[in-house]
Assembly symmetry: C2
Amino acid sequence: MLKHKHNHDECIESALEAAQKICEERETRFTPLRRRVLELVWSKHQPITAYEVLDLLSEGQKRVAPPTVYRALDFLIEEGFVHRIESLNAFVGCSDPAHKHQGHFMICTKCSNVTEMNEKSLHDVIKKAAKENGYTYENSILEIAGVCENCRN
Amino acid sequence: MLKHKHNHDECIESALEAAQKICEERETRFTPLRRRVLELVWSKHQPITAYEVLDLLSEGQKRVAPPTVYRALDFLIEEGFVHRIESLNAFVGCSDPAHKHQGHFMICTKCSNVTEMNEKSLHDVIKKAAKENGYTYENSILEIAGVCENCRN
DNA sequence: TGATGGGTTGATATTTTATAACAATCAGGG
DNA sequence: CCCTGATTGTTATAAAATATCAACCCATCA
């Protein structure tokens, strides 16, 4: 699940390429700004806040304003390239952008690393719970806090 | 699951009494302010924001400052009398304050009503998922958005 | 060609949500 | 009564997000 010491540049690059390709298919616009914001979100393997993205984006140029970042993030979330972690007010790159989905996450309370769980069984259980409570399912957020394998050792 | 047209005053009253009793047992201080804030949280069956509580609390007296409300809410959450809904930045009274637990919620996207799910099976599945991903479980938030039975009709 | 219109980005201001820091007050034990 | 720690009051500020309108880009089409 965790890939240690992977080549992170490669990992970013492939996320950007995937996004590019998906946007071409969907005929949505993967503009330079949106591309850059996605790159910055991926620049950490931890969740990143909108204002951290803003600071990075502003380096070496006139400071950009919050809406610039939020609008780009909205687009990326809409397309499913980025997930928002509600409990942290922060954002992470999606590990499986090809299939639009709600993210379910494990968050390490020591190192802040996030693991996205794309497990159908979990998703099914949640949908079932909704149904049993009389609700028509729309979407869900699941954020589990705990200590990851790495940090326990 | 939904109780329509229940006597809401009664419902508030019993929440307050339960809290009172639990605080006595735990020897924590259920002060007038904390009691009043809990009462206000329960005054809606929908999630209420901190600043809505603040406004209600300020009625007919000198306006209170945000920390007053946030501190009271922190206490109530700590004691398990109130849950925070992350996806709404809002708060709801806990339906089962006797047992400290993490809240799992259904949120109606039409009427904003919230249903707390205290289902052990769901909780177990979530814990299991954490374990399978190599995490030591600490706590979790689950917030399912959908349309409730009432609003579908 | 250049007018038009939708989508995107820029810019300014403001709102909403939450916390830091320190002073005043209160409640209970010695 | 005085001390101590917890609680509440007060002022200021930080952090997160959005509203609004102007400028720009660019594809289309009259």
